[in-house]
Symmetry: C2
Subunit: 343 residues, 2 copies
DNA sequence: GCGCTTTCTGTAAGCGCTTTCCGAGTGCTA
DNA sequence: TAGCACTCGGAAAGCGCTTACAGAAAGCGC
């Protein structure tokens, strides 16, 4: 006869000559069990290579030990850094982290929330920009609502608007504004902005913050100065190439993301232009690699690890009234060698 | 009265005026259910925002829809790339991915396997180097064994030796050997090797492959030419600094990892040395960023995404006899501008 | 050594779902 | 209209665990 795939609590109990209840108590230490019995149970468990079935446990009412994280793409360095913070905290709390990449597909995002809901995850974390499309946000909200009602905890990073949940919010507008000021101070007056998809709130905020600050200084950003592209290295490369093809008249390029800035620099190089001698380039995020580029990238530094840490801490912290807590985190302009004084 | 946190199948059944059994069948489509009943069930489920409890489902015998991935550090670009491949395939199969970072702590690794075992994950994937310490590998094997016996599937990437499980193996020895040959062809005869911790099999293989190929050409690598350090950018920086401090007499630096090579280049720069004019630098892995460095890094290119894809596919593929399947993947030397002819 | 409290152990219910086993309903043929 | 083969729906068991609840043992003072 085929043996049962895993040994169960009952097997252990039988082997130790006690009841399942006692075995459970001995293993979990919920109640006092006389030492010699506890010993026997532990030994039996050891010998049978017993591992409690987490599903049975969860079903029987034990606390859930999983938190779900939904991001756009695991292999994006921005997310990797944030995830690092999340994992650190999760590991301190003995939580397992379930990760899902949406590849920027809103439907997939909703589907993942649903799966995580089915798992009865202790918390769900959404990392990265939301979508400007109200329908999608509404669908997401509808999926989240019953989860929250059922005691689930949700926190989001860098995503706001419609969702009434705990939020960790990098100050995208302010950061982009500060960057605009810094670049103006360097004497730049003509800019090209490399934007990600307008459908993302993060893009809207960063572009908006940058434009507004420029306007305040009497510098206009024309629609043609803003190029939209994918939120990736190749997106940055493509956008930059497009600009170069139709003729660059800016002295400075601001990419809404470091990853895009990296692509932009590559495109500039491939056209024989030098950074910052011919064009200055600035990014946003301060992902770890950019300080090792040549030249190191000027950027708005976000505390990426902390973004993740705060998010999971927020989600794990009791919030009786279910008030929306917003934790803003400032970015700091870091001037490195990719930007120079305008000629 | 406080409502039950989540609506259950029974609630749905009641609302639809059918038995739980019928509701289950309607929702899962296991058996034919008459259209009008199925309609009613679906509608009730919709209205109640019903999400099946994955735990109950798993307990009742449904297939498990989670695969566990254990890596050293999520924020390492090497892993991020491999994870990208895993997630892609997982998403095609509607699987949820649970990720754990061990931070190179073997005990934590075992603990995570145990947690994943408790979750009855459909498969467990171990990404990244194993440990040279036989005790640790044995402990890991002991944890994995009952899981395998219980029908669990395991695959590992870039990790071998003791574990008798499906393996995706980048050809570390051969790759490092090929790199040695390429560097010899450029005229280099004096090398410094930046190694990660000797306790990792990957390090041993890469250093070994490099050394052996050198020896074959009559070039000796003295112990002092090999510097051991952490497997990170800062580790590479520190190791390079140490070498520079006591005096560099090599014309070429081989770092066993791109990430370490990046640190090495930074250290060289900070000392005013230029790459490759003063020293050539080569890495291993071909993580995406290195082609955008200045100079772009010479390295051994591994198909990182594919490593992940193969691993999960291997684990998901039936393997009746439980034979150990090894899928070797070759690396390819890519000469970029960080290496030059020796003077 | 008796009765009392206190501590420990076992019995049994129940978490939410799937699935087997039947009985009831349906459609077809003669 | 009776008889038969099917198709569908419901009752109930059971997945492995936790946790009241209640009963047994142990400890205490007298």
């Amino acid at each position: 006869m085929q043996p049962r795939p895993h040994s169960t609590l009952e097997d252990v109990a039988k082997a130790a000559g006690v009841s399942p209840a006692t075995a459970s108590r001995a293993l979990n230490g919920t109640t006092q069990v006389r030492p010699h019995l506890r010993e026997r149970v532990l030994k039996a468990a050891e010998e049978l290579a017993y591992t409690p079935n987490a599903h049975a446990r969860a079903l029987a009412g034990a606390a859930h030990r999983t938190v779900g994280v939904i991001c756009h793409d695991v292999s994006d360095p921005y997310f990797a850094a944030v995830a690092g913070g999340i994992m650190r905290v999760a590991s301190d709390h003995d939580l397992l982290v379930t990760l899902a990449s949406t590849f920027r597909d809103p439907e997939r995002e909703v589907a993942y929330v649903s799966m995580l809901r089915a798992e009865r995850a202790a918390a769900i974390l959404l990392i990265g920009s939301g979508f400007e499309n109200p329908d999608w946000e509404r669908a997401l909200g509808a999926e989240l609502e019953p989860y929250l009602k059922g005691g689930g905890r949700v926190a989001v990073v860098s995503r706001h608007r419609s969702l009434r949940v705990d939020t960790v919010l990098p100050e995208n507008r302010a950061g982009a504004g500060a960057m605009a000021r810094a670049l103006l101070d360097l004497g730049h007056r003509r800019f090209t902005v490399l934007a990600g998809p307008r459908t993302l709130t993060t893009v809207a905020d960063r572009v908006g913050g940058f434009r507004d600050e420029l306007r305040r200084a009497g510098v206009a950003l024309r629609p043609a100065d803003i190029v939209e592209s994918a939120f990736t290295r190749d997106g940055g490369y493509a956008a930059m190439t497009e600009v170069l093809t139709r003729g660059l008249d800016a002295t400075c390029v601001f990419a809404v993301t470091d990853v895009m800035a990296i692509g932009a620099v590559a495109a500039l190089r491939d056209r024989g232009l030098s950074v910052p001698a011919d064009v200055s380039v600035a990014g946003f995020d301060d992902i770890p690699i950019v300080r090792d580029l040549t030249p190191p990238l000027t950027t708005v530094a976000l505390p990426l690890q902390q973004l993740g840490e705060r998010a999971i801490e927020l989600a794990l912290t009791e919030n009786p009234g279910r008030r929306r807590r917003i934790h803003r985190m400032a970015g700091e302009v870091v001037i490195r060698a990719s930007t120079a004084k305008a000629l």
